[in-house]
Symmetry: C2
């Protein structure tokens, strides 16, 4: 536990050195070497941002030139009203559009235009499968996780030094910077002690 | 064995990213992440250079402004003639200087002036302890290892990118680039496969 706290502290002054395979940020820390999965790190940052924005009703939104028309399954149609308010709080602007159909007129600012339909599809899929047994908080987190995952930078994407520094600084501000909303690890750490031992230096 | 050969091949196009604690070079390779101990890497490079120079009698030497005067123990004095030729081949120029005493007038070019006396002291210590049972080849390797260790860059020393690139390129040319003359590891490797698995990506 002490070690974990020390690690979180070390996260604050990580020095990015470069990327491995355009996917993992390699960084030097006072406690050793860090590898950071750029996608899940950004996912964690966005997840916390989306949740905060939704709680304070201050989501940034983008208006769509043409609304996206979404047909619903009967189950989705029945459950949609329960998530409508959450979607609104996160930056969606959605109106009914005839029978079992929605028109999406705006979406959270972070999601690329081409991804919006897919995000909603995944959110409604959660609704379809889990809505009946989920609490409002679980729904909120599920929607935020889906939005964050879709909006986050991908792996196999080159990042410049400024972007890497930004990502590490934002990650350091997170409440839970060590694992993504789905529980995958964000960082691998090779402690200096472990490295020195492997080199037979202690 | 195949994996080892593939690794040696990957060593040829390592991309240095920076240093960890001014001691270990962090490099991205096509097979994953490498950490290289800068001292032992340089030691290996110099060891092979010194051996080659000694075999071809082409060691570069530095003349000393003032000769270094070295008193010998009786055992060292008795065994010195057996290593005299090796020392000469490696770039030393040493003459008898009265009873049980040597005058060092030149030394291999790579050794800092302040280190020369210590190198000879260590070489004569080998002579003192092991000379009687050592073959000429063992003596040669022992002397070369001592010279290389003393001349190599140390840990806790900042290196710029050009120096790191040079070190990795020279290491890639070595016959045995993975361990130092004393058997310590030069490189730690974290394979891409291992990294992907730790991030739950495979």
């Amino acid at each position: 536990m002490v070690e974990e706290a020390a690690s979180l502290d070390a996260l604050k002054d990580l020095r990015p050195l470069g990327q491995l395979h355009d996917s993992f940020i390699i960084a030097a820390g006072r406690d050793g070497l860090w590898l950071i999965d750029q996608h899940v790190a950004h996912e964690r940052i966005l997840f916390e941002q989306v949740l905060r924005a939704s709680e304070s009703n201050q989501a940034e939104r983008q208006s769509l030139l043409l609304p996206i028309i979404l047909p619903l399954t009967p189950a989705q149609d029945a459950e949609y009203p329960r998530i409508a308010e959450e979607l609104e709080r996160m930056g969606f602007e959605i109106e009914p559009f005839g029978q079992r159909t929605l028109a999406v007129k705006a979406a959270p600012a972070g999601i690329a235009a081409g991804e919006i339909e897919r995000v909603l599809f995944e959110v409604l899929e959660i609704a379809d499968q889990e809505l009946r047994k989920a609490t409002i908080d679980e729904i909120r987190r599920g929607v935020a996780a889906t939005v964050a995952c879709r909006a986050a930078i991908k792996i196999n994407m080159p990042l410049d030094m400024v972007k890497m520094q930004w990502l590490l600084a934002e990650l350091a501000k997170c409440e839970l910077p060590m694992s993504c909303p789905h529980g995958r690890p964000i960082a691998l750490r090779y402690s200096l002690r472990e490295i020195l031992r492997s080199f037979h230096r202690i």
